[in-house]
Symmetry: C2
């Protein structure tokens, strides 16, 4: 539950301070079309990731876990105008498949994983007229003890949620914007060839968790 | 024409050494379906980029210029198996529009812009059976003297070329894989709100340039 204290050397977006920002847990009320006060959202998350290991195979793994996201003061109280900046301050997702074993995904403390929620310049057909777009650039560690490997991405994983009608976008489906393949490197030898690739990532933001549910994940 | 000497703090992929690698200029022969010896490719490039400035407008600008790309030894001499790692070691592209003035795009020396060429895991219909995919993660500076601004991206711009049948993929069209918006920050205040966004980027890799053509761009 502790926030990483090391100073990240790679900053993917705008830093958001956690100082004085309250944790928000299950039971909190989310009001659609409203730009809320700052908060640290403690949310469930699950995802389906596909990993390709050159010469070995492609493996699809279901993950479940939680994220903790700090949200900035919105730049406006008007929903349409409001921009909200976000940092992913903690993540833990666990999945398993026979070939790769148990995989635990956490944040890479060398990166500041950052994002924002704003009204898009290119609203999609089918979205509400004021729906927002959410994006987050993430540096992660994929721990695979069965293979004796910790894998890291050196390009951020861009997680996006469209058609955002409330903040946080709890319950919304999202996608990792991976074009064909995102290289993963051995954390001990990051300058060597990638050892695997993420070829697909789809996720669902869950709702608020209680402190007990968070601790149990 | 000099390679940046500052050590980049942000490394988007695998470093490739330029030591002893020959420059390649116009007149060099490119053989399709062949993994060539290492080289520094001096290539023309042009692109059409769209910038959105919140509250101000959206501007589409045509750029022309050059790139210098160092290529690694291929991991195999067999085309299908070969992986080639690349670093973008120099770039200069110039464009202009009335509202933004003249824009010069160069590499951000704080980032190592890196990429690779390999056989994709998900070959597209319409590509040859052994066509490769090329990707490059780029950190750039967009200099806009009319606005008194230097803008930088903190998420890399992912430039991709599909259906690669020769190395380098000179003459091929490519795309910046920008999902809706890529934030650009004021280089002097990188922790502040983005001041603009790239919302679209399409480019064409040109052919080899002569040293004279390069110097003239």
């Amino acid at each position: 539950m502790s926030t990483p204290t090391r100073q990240p050397s790679v900053v993917y977006g705008r830093p958001v301070s956690t100082a004085g920002v309250p944790n928000i847990y299950s039971g909190a009320k989310v009001i659609p079309w409203t730009a809320p006060d700052p908060g640290i959202d403690n949310l469930g998350i699950n995802s389906i990731d596909t990993f390709a290991v050159p010469g070995v195979g492609e493996y699809t793994v279901a993950f479940d876990g939680y994220v903790r996201v700090v949200r900035s003061q919105p730049t406006s109280r008007e929903w349409f105008k409001a921009e909200v900046y976000t940092n992913l301050i903690e993540m833990k997702m666990v999945g398993e498949c026979e070939e790769l074993g148990r995989i635990t995904v956490t944040l890479n403390p060398e990166c500041l994983s950052a994002g924002q929620i704003r009204t898009p310049f290119d609203p999609y057909a089918g979205e509400g007229p004021s729906a927002k777009a959410c994006r987050m650039a993430v540096g992660a560690i994929f721990e695979m003890p069965k293979l004796g490997l910790q894998l890291v991405n050196k390009e951020p994983i861009i997680l996006t949620i469209d058609d955002v009608r409330q903040i946080p976008p709890a319950g919304a489906p999202g996608k990792g914007q991976i074009y064909r393949m995102l290289p993963l490197h051995d954390r001990r030898r990051p300058d060597d060839e990638p050892v695997a690739y993420v070829t697909s990532l789809r996720f669902n933001m869950g709702g608020y968790l209680s402190p007990e549910e968070l601790a149990a994940k």
